[in-house]
């Protein structure tokens, strides 16, 4: 009761205080808050947001980027007598979350996932429907934060991401170009910049063989209006006109990119960008902030880096990009008490207040109530408004993504033609899908 009251009265300065106090002292003072509320000095009592968890075990696994670190810290605030809180935020989360949620009781009461990685948990039946918890404790959530499958809420999203156009204002101006709306315009612009001698390799993007390249194909294929599977089944069908057109467009972009493009993941692409070697690229919204800040880049590049919504391709109307969310799920194999504790802790961690802190608000495109898009977030918003599709949340799509990543470099290196490459992708996918039991 008192705790909930505290939350409502919490002034925004609490977040700043939290940063200055080390974790252990903070946990101790929270314990104090729980057991000896009456004796606390008014300053401290006002200084904290209260977490409404009274008992239970909370253990979270997830990726480690800043926005998730913020959520993790918020969850840690719930630690006190009788509430055990652990977070394990690591880039290897996907390798351990299935194993860590399989036992009964599961080691992890919750995993933070994205729309691509939730399927691994759903395929193995490791996460529980959240409808009752949302109804009881989810008052602060917006309806569009709820991710439902077959009518049941399986995850609660708190942030969004997408790839979109990043461009250099100064170079486009010099070449007399406007920011391209389509890939065809981008290619034409790139050629012009190259001919004018402004840049040797004006285009680029995360085209590294493997996951990144497969992601670019997914974007491009969706932009061409392609369907990955025969309706309602796991039967792949990408060896078609749209597939060939998508590959062709990838090759056109590649021909205007640095010759090492097959080794450029998003880190490598960002480095090229910061060095001022590129004029246009399709890049993750979450990576724009460091490109635009003079701290992480050179003054010249930072000042003239700008973003716009994603491009379309081949005369299509759907942008050639995919929308992504990150959110939390709750384990099936844990007690209801722990599930409730975990859910409440998240409600504390992603309460809409957190984005009042400017640093936190810059960390991601938050889906929380009251979020005002920062300058770096307008690309992702444009993608969502432009009718971009979410990345396919299908049980077997990860297999296709892996197959694409492994087979596409052959085409881009000119070792084989598009039809042969697409046939190879299908064959690789079929072998994997058969093994996993999706195909017979």
């Amino acid at each position: 009761m008192t705790v909930g009251f505290g939350l409502a009265l919490r002034p925004p300065t609490g977040e700043d205080l939290m940063k200055t106090v080390t974790k252990s002292i903070f946990a101790a003072s929270l314990m104090l808050a729980g057991s000896q509320f009456a004796y606390m000095t008014p300053a401290l009592a006002d200084g904290h947001a209260k977490c409404a968890v009274e008992s239970g075990r909370i253990s979270i696994v997830g990726n480690e980027f800043p926005a998730i670190q913020t959520v993790g810290k918020g969850v840690m605030e719930c630690a006190k007598d009788g509430v055990e809180v652990k977070t394990n935020l690591t880039a290897d989360h996907q390798k351990i979350n299935v194993a860590g949620m399989t036992g009964n009781p599961a080691e992890y009461t919750s995993a933070i996932v994205a729309n691509s990685s939730i399927v691994a948990l759903m395929n193995d039946d490791l996460i529980r429907p959240l409808d009752d918890l949302v109804a009881k404790f989810g008052g602060n959530l917006k309806p569009n934060q709820l991710v439902s499958v077959n009518g049941k809420v399986m995850a609660v999203a708190f942030m969004a991401n997408a790839q979109h156009l990043v461009f250099r204002k100064d170079i486009l101006e010099k070449a007399g170009l406007t920011p391209p709306k389509t890939y065809e315009e981008m290619i034409a612009g790139g050629k012009k910049i190259k001919e004018m001698g402004l840049l040797e390799n004006p285009l680029g993007g995360p085209y590294a063989a493997g996951w990144n390249l497969a992601q670019e194909f997914v974007n491009m294929y969706i932009g061409h209006g392609g369907e990955f599977y025969k309706a309602g089944s796991a039967e792949v069908s990408i060896n078609n006109e749209q597939g060939v057109a998508a590959l062709d467009m990838l090759k056109q972009v590649a021909s205007l990119s640095n010759p090492d493009y097959l080794t450029h993941d998003s880190n490598g692409t960002s480095a090229e960008w910061k060095a001022g070697n590129m004029a246009m690229m399709n890049m993750w919204g979450s990576r724009v902030e460091p490109l635009k800040s003079a701290d992480g880049s050179t003054e010249e590049v930072a000042a003239s880096t700008d973003i716009a919504g994603p491009m379309t391709v081949g005369g299509g109307s759907i942008p050639a990009t995919t929308l992504w969310w990150d959110g939390f799920t709750i384990s099936k194999n844990i007690s209801d008490e722990d599930a409730e504790a975990t859910f409440k802790a998240y409600m504390h961690a992603i309460r809409p207040d957190i984005i009042k802190d400017e640093e936190v608000s810059k960390q991601a495109v938050w889906l929380l109530d009251g979020y005002q898009p920062t300058d770096a977030a307008k690309g992702v918003f444009a993608a969502a408004q432009g009718g971009a599709k979410p990345y396919p949340m299908l049980p077997y799509h990860g297999l296709l993504h892996s197959a694409l990543g492994a087979e596409l470099p052959d085409y881009l290196q000119g070792k084989e033609d598009a039809a042969k490459t697409l046939a190879d992708v299908e064959a690789a996918y079929n072998a994997a899908a058969k093994e996993q039991g999706f195909l017979n």
Partner: protein, 293 residues
């Protein structure tokens, strides 16, 4: 050996010296480059414009006011608390080396002194054991370790690293023990020692060059391991290498590569001390003395 025996032709001497110098340049250049570059900003050290920037650091001057900056070190050690990972690494390495050598010397000694045919089979089986890719091994551990609540803690990783490295340790120590003449311990046993007493009083004093070399490799294995420690340790128990990996960023977010570079450089310093300390043990040629005695 006397001076006359060491005499070599000048041409050979020059060639030998030249070779060592070239090798040292090849071996150490990337590290020295890294050491120098760790005091620059990322855009200089990983310059995509001109590699000379890594030497002169024009952007470092621009951002930090001088051609050298301790930002990477400050970020890694203070902001990211790299010392925790150093501490964990130290614990893991220490226990891996001790355990590995203790059970390895016992096993290796037994294998070298038992003339029965099963010893060679045991050695061959151990070698085949080593052939299994570590990745498969580790992903197989995950489920049972989570089930038994062993996941995430240092002792589990230590035991796994010891076990994974046993085939190597056994083979290496076995070949070193083979070099120690059997007469030594057998004479002691004739004098009334048990096998273990003979091992303790006769073999242990002369086995150090082999053991230290093997220990060095066990140490490097534990120190450099990424696959086991990144998948079996929770975030707060992380050792240095996974911690460094976490500085590098992911597909969707930018990392801080200079933290990683600074961390790598500072993590190499203790090894320098270690090698300088133990190389005397390797050099001193204890075994040769023992053979004569």
């Amino acid at each position: 050996m006397d001076a006359a025996a060491r005499h070599r032709s000048p041409a050979l001497k020059i060639f030998s010296a030249l070779f060592i110098i070239i090798w040292l340049v090849i071996a150490a250049f990337p590290f020295l480059w890294t050491f120098w570059g760790s005091f620059k900003v990322e855009l200089d050290f990983f310059s995509k414009a001109d590699w000379m920037n890594a030497l002169t650091g024009p952007l470092t001057v621009l951002k930090a006011g001088s051609p050298f900056t301790g930002e990477g070190y400050e970020g890694a050690w203070i902001q990211e608390e790299f010392w925790r990972a150093v501490l964990n690494s130290f614990l893991v390495c220490f226990f891996v080396v001790c355990t590995s050598l203790t059970i390895g010397t016992l096993g290796g000694y037994a294998l070298s002194r038992s003339g029965f045919r099963y010893t060679i089979w045991l050695l061959i089986i151990a070698l085949i054991f080593r052939a299994l890719p570590q990745m498969t091994l580790v992903s197989g551990y995950l489920l049972p370790f989570f089930e038994w609540n062993l996941w995430g803690i240092l002792p589990t990783s230590i035991i796994v690293l010891v076990a994974i490295n046993q085939p190597f340790t056994l083979w290496m120590l076995h070949s070193f023990f083979e070099k120690i003449p059997k007469d030594l311990d057998e004479a002691a046993m004739v004098d009334g020692c048990t096998r273990f007493q003979a091992f303790r009083h006769v073999i242990i004093p002369v086995m150090w060059p082999g053991v230290i070399t093997t220990g060095l490799f066990s140490f490097l294995l534990a120190y450099n391991d990424f696959i086991v420690t990144s998948m079996l340790l929770s975030k707060e128990n992380q050792t240095m290498v996974p911690k460094i990996a976490s500085f590098l960023g992911t597909t969707q977010t930018e990392g801080n590569v200079m933290f990683a570079v600074a961390a790598v450089v500072s993590a190499t310093a203790p090894l320098f001390v270690l090698v300088m300390f133990f190389q005397r043990q390797i050099v001193s040629g204890l075994t040769a003395g023992a053979v004569k005695g």
